[in-house]
């Protein structure tokens, strides 16, 4: 099988995660924020699969499945919210959605 240092895989995951994080922080459009979030989830999922492969057991992939489920749920609810908010405010600007602030 492939022969790569673990840390390279981990570094890749970290980089992917950070890119996603930058996206969440920089973007004001909710759709883009959701996409960035997907990147971050995938980065974590990659770490799990990597770990599972290193230890040679199935737990990593089980966790991947869970993350997949989570992502599905998150995207479903998130997108529903996006649609709803767009209907209400005619905008996808995250900074304008602060009506609940105390």
């Amino acid at each position: 099988m492939t022969e790569i240092p673990v840390e390279h895989g981990l570094l890749f995951a970290a980089a992917l995660f950070c890119i996603g994080l930058v996206g969440v922080l920089v973007r004001r459009n909710l759709v883009f924020m959701l996409m960035s979030l997907e990147l971050m989830l995938n980065a974590t999922a990659f770490v799990f699969v990597l770990g599972g492969a290193l230890h040679g057991n199935a737990d990593g992939q089980v966790m991947f499945v869970m993350i997949l489920t989570l992502a599905a749920a998150e995207v479903a609810v998130g997108l529903a919210l996006v649609v709803h908010l767009y209907h209400r405010h005619r905008s996808l600007d995250a900074d304008r959605l602060d009506v609940m602030k105390g």
Partner: protein
């Protein structure tokens, strides 16, 4: 004995309650019936009591009628005590009181507060009687404060005029200062003897306090109370303002009875004062100073009733002077005669004021002799007695004071002041009479021929002339003060006798020169100082009233609330600061999370 004595104050008290509760449903006749009737009955009862007392060769009656309360360590009862001093006081109160009540029926008729007036007046008589009949200091204190209350209510009787309200409040508060001193004196007695029975505590004081500091303090505090009630220095400022009340009130409360309560108190507690010669000296000095200062003030007043008010202060000063000099019975004697002639003067003044449509300024009076001969007669008798011209009642009592005082202590400062005061008294009496009745008539008075008002005046005239003949059963009351070694020489007699004439002569001389005292002194600083009562009012205003009200104004919102308010402000500010973080901006939350992660990682590393 004793139980029925309680009816003397109870009758006016009940009548007062009736008038207060039902007054609005009674017409003037009904109210007058209650008001005068009850005092008449009380006078009758006290006459019986006095006669019985005299017949039973002057042994004092005392007795516990009912218990008021008995706390742990203090028992107080509604106990009464009747001796010669009480007899004199009760006689004066009910006698003069009855005459003034009769007079008031005519004087107050037509006033919409007629029933209320008699309710207060009856209440006053009741309280004054309680004061003098009390065998217990606390009961005395009840009467003491009670008469103060009635004085307050009656000064403010015409309550729609704001000035009356201020005068009333001033009177009550100033006397209350004295009352607090009196109360503290009572507290010492409670602490020392555990009883407030007057005779018991005075007796114990004489037994136990032969040489201790206590008599000094107790006597000083009692003097404080007396000074407040009797308008002596330094608490005299309320009395001239108290003239805002109806004139019969001035006659009864602020001349004849209430203001002499201080004299009564000192006379009653003679036993304690004798143990404190320093305080007795102080009493004499207070009396001497007061009588002279007030007489000077009376000299330049322009308000008829204020002249009489200062004259009252001055005359009570004589009584204090006498008490301080050890001439106790002379003081009580003067108390009685003063009640007669001062009531007469006030009531006659009331008649004049009423005839002149509530004019009180003597500058707008004059020449009233012809239109109002009866009032002129009353004034003549009253002024003569006030000036202590021979063969009037005032002559005997003032003579007694000056001579006895000389006999006891010789001629100190106070004595010279008292002697000089006698001259000034004659001078202002003359001025008063001249300004009112001689000269040109400026006004058109309504005639003073209301007989219901004349009868009491006529009787008071008789009393002012011959009141000195009424015997006073005081021989057993006062411990006779060892007479001083001073020989009363003929020169002293002569001086005392001539002093009023001297004053009169000076007055006549000025009069013949066509000069008026007022005009002579008008521009002078001295006159202004005298007219304002030696500036005591201004002094107290600057020293006490202004700072207090300034303090009150500054701290109206209660500064102690500030720390609490600061705590509230602090927590609200913090809360607002924190809530600003919770601003609903998703990206800032995420940034916050990242910062946190960075920090945690940095710590881990």
């Amino acid at each position: 004995m004793g139980a029925w004595l309680a009816w003397i104050p109870l009758l006016p008290l009940l009548s007062s309650l009736t008038l207060l509760l039902l007054g609005r449903r009674l017409d003037e006749r009904g109210a007058a019936l209650f008001g005068v009737g009850s005092v008449a009955l009380a006078a009758l009862l006290s006459l019986v009591a006095i006669l019985l007392f005299v017949v039973s060769d002057g042994t004092a009656w005392g007795g516990q009628a009912l218990s008021w309360f008995s706390a742990l360590g203090l028992e107080v009862g509604f106990s009464l005590y009747f001796d010669g001093l009480t007899a004199v006081m009760v006689g004066v109160i009910t006698g003069v009181g009855l005459l003034i009540h009769l007079y008031s029926v005519a004087y107050m008729s037509g006033d919409d507060g007629f029933a209320r007036f008699f309710a207060y007046l009856n209440l006053f008589v009741a309280m004054m009687l309680i004061l003098v009949l009390a065998g217990d200091f606390l009961l005395l204190y009840l009467g003491w404060e009670g008469v103060g209350l009635c004085s307050f209510l009656l000064i403010g009787f015409w309550y729609r005029v704001p000035e009356n309200g201020y005068a009333a409040r001033k009177a009550f508060v100033v006397t209350r200062v004295g009352d607090v001193a009196l109360a503290l004196g009572l507290l010492i007695l409670v602490q020392q003897f555990g009883t407030l029975l007057i005779q018991d505590s005075v007796g114990q004081a004489q037994l136990l306090w032969a040489d201790s500091d206590w008599p000094f303090w107790v006597a000083l505090l009692l003097l404080g109370g007396a000074v407040g009630k009797s308008a002596q220095l330094p608490l005299q400022t309320w009395l001239p303002d108290a003239m805002a009340g109806p004139t019969p009130v001035s006659a009864l409360i602020h001349a004849a009875t209430m203001v002499t309560a201080g004299v009564y108190l000192i006379a009653r507690t003679q036993g304690i004062f004798l143990l404190a010669p320093d305080v007795l000296q102080l009493v004499q000095l207070v009396g001497g100073l007061t009588l002279f200062l007030a007489a000077c003030s009376a000299l330049v007043q322009q308000d008829l009733k204020r002249i009489l008010a200062y004259s009252t202060i001055s005359q009570i000063g004589y009584m204090f002077f006498a008490l301080g000099a050890g001439a106790f019975s002379a003081a009580v004697f003067h108390l009685m005669t003063h009640a007669f002639f001062k009531a007469l003067l006030f009531l006659a003044a009331g008649q004049v004021i009423l005839s002149l449509h509530h004019e009180q300024d003597i500058r707008r009076m004059g020449g009233l002799l012809r239109p109002m001969p009866f009032s002129a007669l009353c004034f003549a008798i009253g002024c003569a007695a006030l000036a202590a011209l021979p063969f009037t009642s005032g002559f005997y009592s003032k003579d007694a004071i000056l001579l006895q005082a000389y006999a006891h202590g010789g001629a100190g400062i106070a004595w010279w002041l008292a002697l000089a005061g006698a001259g000034v008294t004659a001078l202002y009496s003359l001025r008063l009479f001249v300004r009112l009745f001689l000269g040109e008539c400026h006004t058109a008075p309504t005639p003073d021929n209301r007989w219901p008002m004349r009868w009491p005046l006529a009787l008071l005239c008789l009393l002012a002339l011959f009141g000195a003949l009424i015997p006073q059963p005081l021989s057993d009351v006062f411990v006779s003060v060892p007479a001083g070694e001073q020989h009363v020489s003929w020169a002293v007699h002569l001086a005392v006798l001539l002093m009023p004439w001297l004053g009169l002569a000076l007055g006549l001389w000025l009069l013949l020169r066509g000069e008026d005292l007022r005009r002579r002194f008008a521009g002078g600083i001295l006159a202004r100082v005298w007219r304002t009562g030696w500036g005591f009012d201004a002094l107290y205003n600057a020293l006490l009233v202004q700072p207090l009200s300034l303090l009150a104004r500054l701290n109206r919102r209660d500064l102690l609330d500030l720390p609490v308010g600061f705590l509230a402000w602090l927590s609200r500010t913090c809360h607002q600061g924190l809530s600003r973080l919770q601003n609903g901006r998703l990206r800032q939350y995420v940034a916050g999370i990242v910062w946190g992660a960075l920090l945690v990682l940095a710590v881990v590393l």
